[in-house]
């Protein structure tokens, strides 16, 4: 039981960290959304780069989270990957009240991030498609398509 409590406390700490991280990701996504609406390439690139560190950190946290959940599953003789935060709360009873609150808070944050991410993704993909189509049309018109496709033409022009 002690081992479960220890792992539960570690999980609560991890979830709290994840809630904070999702707030930062949301802020970065909102900044990116603003950048996308400005159509300024430099701003878009800078806002996207700001997401980079958050994504990297999120990947590490996912790894740590998998380990914690796998350890708890082992204690309860369950196969790894079967536990969720909801099933853990049910299993630990009153000891899981804090985790339950954290779970709701995290769900809200992740929901916000997911919505913002989808919105940004939709805008970015559509922009990219339209830009690509216009660029294609212009290059065909100006006869520089093949030069561009081969690469180097614009680099030379800039130089």
């Amino acid at each position: 039981m002690n081992q479960v409590m220890t792992l539960l406390r570690l999980l609560e700490a991890h979830v709290q960290e994840e809630i904070g991280a999702q707030s930062r990701v949301l802020a970065a996504l909102e900044a990116q959304g603003e950048a996308l609406r400005s159509h300024e390439s430099a701003r878009i690139v800078a806002a996207t780069a700001a997401l980079d560190s958050e994504i990297a950190a999120q990947a590490k946290r996912a790894e740590r989270r998998s380990e914690l959940l796998a350890s708890l599953a082992a204690v309860w003789s369950l196969p790894a990957g079967t536990l969720t935060l909801g099933s853990i709360v049910q299993r630990v009873g009153d000891e899981g009240r804090r985790l339950a609150r954290q779970r709701e808070e995290l769900a809200d944050s992740v929901g916000s991030v997911a919505r913002q991410s989808r919105r940004n993704g939709l805008v970015a993909r559509l922009h990219q498609r339209v830009t690509s189509e216009v660029l294609q049309a212009v290059l065909v018109e100006s006869g520089t398509e093949s030069a561009l496709a081969e690469g180097g033409a614009l680099v030379d022009a800039e130089g």
Binding site: S38, A62, L85, V110, Q128
Partner: protein, 777 residues
């Protein structure tokens, strides 16, 4: 996703599309003249209050603006105008240069040199008919080039007017199009939106207009431009005026006006053409006219006072017509200086030589012209007063002079070879002269003489004298010639230089008369009892050489004592001018060999034969030395024996009969074979500095016209290069500000595409991570 979220995304997408379309529009018009780069202006949409929260609603595309520097645009227009003006100027000057032929062999300076080279050749062999023809032909070559240049310059003036007319039509068409665009722009611009492409087209039209005239374009609050030309409104926000060309190209009075108001300052091509039409070309024609006028004046001055190979003239008629200025049907009452002749006439003397063709004897006569008093009739009378000459004005109004049969005449400044026409200077006649007039005689005075027929007395009654107490030699001569006793005496009376000369009719030592007495002798400066004898030896002074002094003069020759030429110690012949100043003293004592020539002065030489001269008998003769045989220019004005007819670049020509018969070319000063003295005088005018050309020579003036045009071209080309350089700089700056850089626009698009792509990739990762997180909730 909420409806608001989708709306924000859609607005963003639309804004992006507008931005990309703007970029595409820029790229499509990268090579459109006058196109200004456009840019999409975006801003945050107005926020809305939702569920108690103020939420943003995304982005909105506000307007598409042109990137324009209006000050730079104005400077470019002004520069285009300057360039247009210089181009028009350069075009015209280059044409003028080709008219003048520059320094080529067919150019006017070369033809001028060629004419004088031909004259120089002729001077070495004045009898050579080939060289005479060559001189006439080369003169024709020069005047033909002058005629062409003047004619073409006038054609150029007419062409400039036609070009101006066409340019004015272009200006008015452009003004109309600008006015149309004004209406379209003000009609289509609402709120903050601007009709960028229409504005670009209008700017481009203003720039095109600037090539033709200097314009100032001012935009009003509604976006319409007001176009001003020379301070007058050509295009107003609501209407357009017409630029109008008026005047007469032939008279050089060309005007440009808008709404009846004249425009002084135009600029542009039109300004350049106007400047050329009214100033430069007129100036060139004037300079060519000055050259032609002075060439004709100087050459005719020389030619009219020369003698052709055929000798002195029997008949001469002027080329120029005397006008009947007062319209009374009588040309002879006109002042000669105001008779509509092409050259000015000054007060001065005209010398006329009359030649006895049988004896070769020449007498020189002087006609004084007073520019303010002498009429054509006076001149006709003055010619008529010269023995063996007559003159009249023909039905065409030209003066004609005719010599009696056996006589000829000319206007050469040559010296009289035998000036002692009376034979009163050591001649063979018995001869004595009185003192100089006036003579203080009285009514009843007598003159007692003894002639070959015996003694006789002339009594002076007072008749024939204006005032007998101040009698003149001419009056006394006439009275004696009218006296019956004197007529029967065998004596001759003449007036010479204010003295009465009494001479025997025959020559030789046997000729003799005596001044016996009488009350008049003392007043005449003569002594009673004086016997006057003739001689077997006639000194017959003979003149040679050409006078090269600058002033006309009458030299009087007197011996200083009685004596024999080449024998008497101390015998000298003194030469005095009209004011009594001694100009030379000729030693004709023992050191002088009779017949030898002695230099008097200024190229004039004299020779005396053996014989006696007498100071007591007041032996004297005079010689007229003439620098310019026609100081009045009356021969040039009347066109008597001229080389050129006409007096302007357009009408100057070699005299027709000279062209037909080059032997009429007045090569000589004396008429003697081999004498090319007049050609030598013609050669001198090549480099002679002339008052009529501002102390320039003909050569310098002509070279000045040609080199002036060359310098104008050089200056205009330099100015054009400088103006073009400046315009290029302004255009480059405009391109930097307003132009479309295709590479930059493409790079911008590619960067955007990559940025969106990267964002989409990252968001895919974020979505994956988020999905994974949601799975464990």
């Amino acid at each position: 996703m909420s409806a608001l979220g989708l709306n924000i995304g859609m607005k963003s997408l639309l804004a992006a599309q507008a931005n990309l379309e703007t970029i595409g529009h820029n790229l499509s018009n990268a090579n459109t003249p006058g196109y200004s780069r456009q840019a999409l202006q975006v801003s945050s949409s107005s926020p809305i209050r939702l569920r108690g929260l103020v939420q943003g609603t995304g982005v909105s595309a506000d307007t598409i603006t042109r990137t324009v520097d209006s000050i730079l645009h104005g400077r470019i227009s002004s520069q285009v105008s300057s360039l247009g003006r210089i181009d028009a100027r350069l075009e015209t000057i280059s044409t003028v240069e080709s008219l003048l032929g520059g320094t080529s062999a067919s150019g006017m300076p070369a033809l001028f040199k060629k004419m004088f080279q031909s004259l120089a050749s002729l001077q070495t062999a004045p009898e050579d008919p080939m060289l005479r023809t060559g001189a006439v032909q080369s003169s024709m070559g020069l005047v033909a080039a002058l005629n062409r240049a003047a004619g073409n310059a006038q054609s150029l003036q007419r062409n400039a007017f036609l070009q101006m007319d066409a340019t004015v039509a272009e200006v008015n068409a452009l003004a109309q199009r600008i006015s149309d665009l004004n209406r379209q722009i003000t009609g289509s611009e609402l709120g903050t939106s601007t009709a960028n492409d229409l504005r670009d087209r209008r700017d481009q039209l203003v720039k095109e207009l600037s090539q033709f005239v200097d314009v100032r374009a001012v935009e009003d609050a509604r976006g319409a431009v007001r176009v001003l030309v020379g301070g007058r409104i050509l295009v107003s926000p609501t209407s357009v005026e017409q630029l109008e060309l008026g005047g007469d190209p032939a008279s050089g009075s060309v005007t440009l006006s808008i709404d009846g108001q004249a425009i002084d300052s135009l600029g542009g091509r039109l300004g350049g053409l106007l400047g050329m039409q009214t100033g430069y070309l007129d100036g060139i024609v004037d300079q060519l006219d000055d050259f032609a006028h002075n060439l004709a004046l100087e050459a005719n001055r020389v030619h009219s006072t020369g003698i052709p190979r055929s000798g002195s003239f029997s008949f001469l008629v002027g080329d120029n017509t005397i006008a009947d200025s007062d319209g009374d049907g009588d040309r002879e009452d006109e002042l000669i200086s105001r008779a509509g002749l092409p050259f000015d006439i000054q007060s001065g003397a005209l010398y006329v030589n009359v030649v006895n063709r049988a004896s070769g004897a020449t007498t020189k006569h002087r006609i004084d012209i007073d520019a303010n008093r002498t009429t054509v009739g006076d001149l006709v009378d003055a010619f008529g007063a010269i023995p063996n000459l007559s003159a009249s004005v023909d039905v065409s109004g030209r003066l004609q002079v005719v010599a009696d049969a056996g006589f000829g005449f000319d206007f050469s400044p040559r010296l009289e070879a035998a000036p002692d026409t009376l034979g009163s200077f050591g001649g063979g006649k018995a001869s004595i002269a009185t003192a100089r007039e006036p003579f203080a005689l009285s009514v009843g005075d007598t003159l007692d003489l003894v002639g070959a027929n015996g003694p006789f007395t002339v009594t002076l009654s007072g008749a024939g004298f204006a005032s007998i107490s101040a009698a003149t030699a001419e009056e006394l001569t006439a009275v004696l010639r009218a006296d019956a006793g004197f007529q029967a005496s065998g004596l001759v009376a003449s007036a010479q230089d204010g003295a009465l000369v009494l001479q025997s009719a025959g020559t030789g030592a046997g000729e003799m008369f005596q001044l016996a007495g009488g009350s008049a002798l003392a007043a005449l400066g003569l002594s009673a009892g004086t016997t006057v004898s003739g001689s077997d030896h006639d000194i017959a002074p003979t003149i040679s050489g050409n006078y090269n002094g600058s002033q006309a003069a009458r030299w009087t020759f007197r011996p200083n004592m009685d004596g024999t030429i080449g024998t008497t110690q101390g015998l000298r012949i003194e030469v005095f001018d009209e004011s009594g100043v001694r100009v030379a003293e000729l030693d004709v004592g023992p050191g002088y060999t009779p017949g030898d020539e002695i230099e008097i002065k200024d190229g004039v030489r004299i020779a005396f034969a053996f014989g006696d001269v007498s100071a007591t008998a007041r032996d004297a003769f005079h010689l007229d030395v003439v620098a310019d045989a026609d100081m009045s220019d009356v021969l040039v004005a009347l066109g008597m024996n001229s080389m050129f007819t006409g007096s302007t670049a357009q009408d100057i020509a070699v005299r027709d009969d000279l062209v037909l018969d080059p032997s009429l070319f007045s090569v000589s000063l004396s008429g003697a074979p081999g004498d090319g003295g007049n050609v030598l005088r013609l050669l001198e005018i090549e480099s002679e500095r002339l008052a009529g050309l501002g102390s320039q020579s003909l050569d310098e003036h002509l070279s000045g016209i040609v080199s002036g045009v060359a310098l104008e071209i050089e200056a205009a080309q330099s100015a054009r290069e400088a103006e073009q350089f400046l315009l290029d700089g302004l255009e480059t700056r405009r391109d930097q500000v307003s132009g479309v850089n295709t590479d930059e626009e493409l790079v911008r698009m590619i960067e955007q595409e990559q940025a969106y792509n990267a964002a989409a990739q990252y968001l895919r990762v974020v979505s994956e991570l988020t999905a994974e997180l949601m799975n464990i909730l």
